[in-house]
């Protein structure tokens, strides 16, 4: 978080640099069945983010040591392709990607009915081919759709979105500049049926009231995104 409070990103009419209002989401598209050799898959664009997720399984868990006798394990890999960022990303081990893989796994393990597949594993590959702030949210959301596409049973789908603060104003769904120069970032993973959470991170500086505002923005946005997800799963590609 840069905290460069003096970079003007929202004007007196509440219009942001890309023309959005404080509560507006970037444009989203969702398609399923985009990786033909996988058991389930999803391609999601969100602003100029693009994530492609493939799901394989449930299948025999190899190596033996990762197997659990009582339930399935999720093998989640989040990765950014070298050409996904303005400055090329070198392929290879990346701490940030490891962390995001883990918190994404924790979120999804909270909804997948793992006990139905003891000793097996479900592999979820999240590839970010174009990045523009909020990639972890795109990845987690697209992974939910891919899991549903693969016929994996879940108590609900996870919808992930982030809100933050720019020029002291709380806004929904930060874009790249806002993420760089803004004062806070609050990504969440929400279950649309109950409003409960399976994923939560935050960094920056938010007052109690601002925090509540950002929280509510995420909750409202999640319902809109969820409708896109449902339509994509029921009827094909959705704009």
């Amino acid at each position: 978080m840069g905290g460069y409070g003096d970079v003007q990103m929202i004007d007196e009419n509440g219009l942001r640099v890309d023309g959005r209002g404080p509560g507006d989401l970037r444009e989203i598209t969702i398609e399923t069945g985009v990786v033909p050799v996988a058991d389930g898959s999803c391609r999601m664009t969100w602003g100029t983010n693009e994530a492609i997720v493939a799901v394989y399984g449930p299948m025999e868990a190899h190596p033996r040591k990762i197997q659990r006798q009582d339930r399935a394990v999720l093998d989640v890999g989040y990765n950014m392709a070298p050409f996904s960022t303005t400055d090329r990303m070198r392929p290879g081990f990346n701490r940030r990607s490891r962390e995001i893989s883990k918190v994404t796994k924790d979120a999804l393990e909270s909804v997948v009915l793992l006990e139905l597949f003891p000793r097996s594993k479900i592999r979820i590959s999240i590839e970010i081919v174009s990045a523009e702030a909020g990639t972890r949210c795109v990845g987690l959301t697209a992974a939910s759709v891919a899991l549903a596409d693969a016929g994996i049973p879940m108590t609900d789908m996870v919808v992930s979105v982030a809100s933050g603060k720019i020029n002291d104003i709380v806004v929904c769904d930060l874009n790249k500049e806002e993420d760089n120069y803004g004062e806070a970032d609050l990504p969440m993973g929400i279950l649309p049926n109950s409003g409960e959470l399976v994923f939560l991170q935050m960094d920056g500086d938010l007052s109690q009231e601002e925090f509540k505002q950002a929280w509510n923005y995420n909750m409202d946005a999640a319902h809109v995104i969820h409708e896109h997800m449902v339509e994509a799963l029921k009827g094909g590609a959705v704009q």
Binding site: G57, P58, M59, A148, G151, M154, T155, P192, K234
Partner: protein
């Protein structure tokens, strides 16, 4: 929250079909028996998978559009030998975990250490599921009528939800296909099918599977009923 027009009321009874997604609310649970692919949460029925919701009287379930095979005892399955020890073969039956074939349940006479000589990695077998334990592998057996190592022909993967149309009412579509192609066809329970005969017959069967798959995709294109 997505507005559910008939929240609180049961959907039409009979064989009504509707495409649903995980987490979708399917109405009040009163008087309903949750079956495959659904669960009861706080007095409501909730879908767990994407698929067709079916209501058969009081039994409500979701048949997934894509699913993995789950072994059940006495299922006829086609498996591939993935590995072996001195007295066990490990068999890939297309399930979330491999099955075990102990030598005592294998073909012919058992001789400790001789697994490889009888059946090796990559061989295909027709066998039956003997038992399924929750935390252990399922066990398959080759002791039984018609069970054997598959030595010729081809094995096709068939999407489970095409099986109904492939087999037809009372098995008549399958019988017709066998006659037309002059092939021996064994449809296993695990989404695999053994076809044996002249190459032209095998190719005909493959074409038939392809056309079934295409029509099925066309029917599901809109997604809604």
């Amino acid at each position: 929250m997505r507005k559910n027009k008939d929240a609180g009321e049961p959907r039409d009874s009979g064989r009504a079909q509707l495409l649903v997604v995980p987490g979708e609310d399917l109405g009040d649970s009163q008087g309903l028996e949750p079956g495959h692919g659904v669960m009861e949460v706080n007095g409501r029925i909730r879908a767990l998978k994407r698929g067709m919701m079916t209501k058969n009287g009081s039994y409500i379930s979701v048949e997934p559009t894509h699913t993995r095979y789950f072994p059940r005892p006495s299922d006829l399955v086609i498996g591939y030998i993935e590995g072996c020890t001195n007295n066990i073969w490990f068999v890939d039956i297309g399930a979330p975990f491999n099955a075990i074939l102990p030598m005592s349940l294998g073909p012919g006479k058992a001789e400790f250490g001789g697994t490889r000589a009888i059946m090796d990695v990559g061989d295909a077998i027709l066998c039956r599921v003997q038992e399924v334990e929750e935390t252990h592998s399922s066990v398959v057996t080759m002791k039984g009528m018609g069970l054997r190592k598959i030595r010729s022909g081809s094995i096709e993967e068939v999407d489970p939800h095409l099986l109904g149309r492939l087999i037809g009412k009372g098995g008549q579509s399958l019988r017709a296909l066998k006659e037309e192609t002059e092939c021996r066809i064994v449809v296993a329970d695990n989404g695999r099918m053994w076809v044996d005969g002249d190459l032209s017959g095998i190719l005909q069967v493959r074409d038939k599977l392809q056309s079934l798959s295409v029509t099925s995709q066309q029917n599901n294109a809109g997604g809604r009923n």
